[in-house]
Subunit: 260 residues, 2 copies
């Protein structure tokens, strides 16, 4: 008896028309029944923002006439898209949620700022196995072809074996031709950060304003990190949790006598 | 020889004019030299959003004429406020960053959606000891008086003893009169979530839209959680980390043969 095809929710943070989500769609169509619910405009850097003080629009759209799956464009954030998809659009709980393929890295500390990963985390909170995919190429004309093989392999693994409760995957793909990608490495998040630089300008009315810029600084030399894997030609897979408790510090904090 | 007063950066997500940040200011003025850099409008639910596709304004404001400290109003998110404060406003790295006092809970999974906590986490990433404070009362007329004693105690502890690298504190305060607060408990984040409900309406032009609503569901019965502490009259202190790696799952994931 053929099993029902898995239901796969596809979203992203670059917006529903971004090339990255089209590449992800191509892979997911081979693996299950796909529904896309994605932001109507780019949402990069939105972190785990949700829309609580404004209205949300979410409507069916036709991106290509011959598509058999359904697509919905949503005025909210990536996390909003997952919430509205599971509550208002899908007829059952999806078997998987995939987010991406993001145009640009979400490795290391970028996971904190990432709209792509916030969608995956939101799905994880709702008990749905979830993966965020990102390619280390910010260009709108990025080549997603070499990524597809790895996106498919990792997705198949999660469909088959699931993920532990409270864990989602953060997958980053190096900007390399297929022949140069060495394989997949399971990693920890590198301990790196951004050093901000604000580009200060003055507007025509004489008011100062800023553009946020900065450079990524990684002093973590561990060979078990996502940064190391990506620099050395591997696809990085970091298991990500949303229990943020620093459990190892509870005992020390208790010994400080805060309650005396 | 008197030591230089600690430099304390104060921010929030309810906006620079919210009563909660005024209560926090009152406490911090007793403990150090205060600079406020806070959003010019409410930013609740912003998660760890940052402003990368838009300009940022950040200007000195005078909230009360007799204030001796400096205040800056910023057009961005709480995380933006911390970034711009450390890069463009403060003359040296602050000794502490405090965020809040938030009007409403940031316990349990709310830490993920919280603008208040994103400011603390951003400071933590920059190596600054940081604490987010939230009162379990959404009202604009919330009584912050009973909280002040605990805010002061926890802040003094962090100024004296510091925090480990990579850890910030998420402090939630029960909505209780001073006489009913039993003390402080160091906790883990309760494993709870929101069950969303979308309130669907139709606008005057006939277009459907949604308001996000929902109810908070906690099935975690542990007595070591923030939810338990708050329900039982304690101030909850959860050490929060921004290394999101689910380290305990790396070995299992490696055994799956993803790289074969």
């Amino acid at each position: 008896m053929p099993k029902e095809k898995p239901l796969i929710l596809v979203t992203n943070d670059d917006g529903i028309t971004a090339p990255g989500i089209r590449a992800l769609l191509e892979v997911m169509k081979e693996l299950g029944e796909v529904v896309i619910v994605a932001p109507d405009s780019p949402q990069s850097g939105m972190g785990h923002a949700i829309t609580i003080s404004d209205t949300l629009f979410c409507e069916p759209v036709t991106i290509k006439k011959n598509y058999k799956h359904k697509e919905y464009s949503c005025s909210g954030t990536p996390a909003d898209c997952v919430k509205i998809a599971t509550q208002e659009i899908l007829h059952r709980k999806p078997d998987l949620c995939v987010s991406g393929i993001n145009h640009g890295s979400n490795s290391s500390i970028n996971v904190i700022y990432s709209g792509t990963m916030s969608a995956a985390v939101e799905a994880g909170i709702e008990g749905i196995p979830a993966i965020g995919f990102s390619l280390l190429d910010y260009s709108l004309t990025a080549d997603f072809e070499p990524s597809k093989k790895y996106v498919k392999k990792i997705t198949q693994d999660v469909l088959k074996n699931g993920l532990p409760k409270g864990v989602v995957l953060n997958v980053n793909l190096p900007k390399l031709p297929a022949s140069k990608i060495k394989g997949i490495k399971v990693c920890r998040q590198a301990n790196a950060h951004w050093e901000e630089e604000f580009d200060k300008r003055t507007n025509p009315q004489g008011r100062d304003y800023f553009w946020l810029t900065g450079k990524f600084v990684n002093k973590d030399e561990g060979e078990d990190t996502d940064e190391w894997a990506l620099k050395n030609g591997y696809v990085s897979v970091v298991p990500v949790q949303f229990d943020l408790t620093a459990h190892q510090f509870i005992r020390e904090l208790n010994s400080r006598g805060l309650n005396e």
